[in-house]
Amino acid sequence: MSHSAYGIPISWFLTVGAMLFCIGLFGMMVRRSAIGMLLSVELMLNAANINLIAFGSYLKAPTIAGQIFAIFVVTLAAAEAAVGLAIVINIYRLEQHVDADKITAMKL
């Protein structure tokens, strides 16, 4: 059974996911501040989530696994944001900026 009367094929959601991923990719490449890069990573993770949920819901044999995977992605994204922002705050305390091009503390 499916809501075919919605009139929204899965390719619409997949296209939105692809566009969101590419916007995140663009942001990852143009941003120099570490926080801006973290924002772009969140966009890309959400694009992946849209695809997971779309397939979980649109399959002819629909499965809950897509939503479960998305929940794990959200959980790990929260952990990633916590650790990433802790690192950003620590770097700011050491160097007074968060410019990823100028952080050289771990260079040999």
């Binding site: 919605y6 899965i10 916007i23 959980t75």
Partner: protein
């Protein structure tokens, strides 16, 4: 019963209008996230993007995930990012040229990536074979998610809680200031 609206001869459902509105909000504010020179405004637009994605989840018949998205992403992660911005940068002084680096090359690379993904989505036969015309209308509320999470996926669930604990302890250790004389 789904009502159809006729616009210029096209039969348009309310769901399609909702999809276009939500996708527009999501993608427009996502573009703002990557283009705003002021990182604080970018973070606020990220909140709007995540809210739009929650709406898309509702359209995909995943209401529980929409609630999770609003609570964790819009509520917690955006707040945490804004707090980190307040703690770590002089937000008001950055101009566009300082914040955006080499946009033409980056746009070309991202555009190529989108072209690749779009051609894959548009041409793939396997998508047409395994996918139905609309989202499933089986029960995917809290009960179904809970049953799946605690029966077949209980081991990854416990592992995720362990990862969260380790990450939060690690975040505290990393961001703690080293003061001499303290253990």
């Amino acid at each position: 019963m789904i009502r159809h609206v006729s616009i210029f001869g096209f039969e348009i459902t309310g769901y399609q209008i909702a999809f276009v509105a939500l996708a527009g909000v999501t993608l427009g504010s996502a573009a703002m996230v990557v283009l705003m020179p002021n990182i604080l405004r970018a973070a606020l637009f990220l909140g709007l993007t995540l809210f739009g994605i929650a709406g898309l989840y509702v359209l995909m018949n995943a209401p529980f995930l929409a609630a999770v998205q609003v609570m964790i992403y819009v509520g917690a992660i955006t707040t945490m990012i804004i707090l980190a911005i307040f703690l770590s940068s002089r937000v008001m002084k950055i101009g566009f040229g300082q914040a955006i680096y080499n946009p033409v090359l980056a746009f070309g690379a991202a555009g190529l990536m989108f072209l690749f993904l779009f051609v894959t989505v548009a041409n793939s036969i396997w998508v047409r074979d395994i996918v139905a015309a609309g989202p499933a209308d089986t029960d995917v509320g809290v009960n179904a998610v809970a049953a799946a999470l605690l029966q077949p996926y209980v081991f990854p669930f416990e592992l995720a809680s362990l990862v969260l604990l380790a990450a939060l302890v690690g975040a505290i250790v990393i961001s703690k200031e080293d003061r001499p004389g303290e253990p």
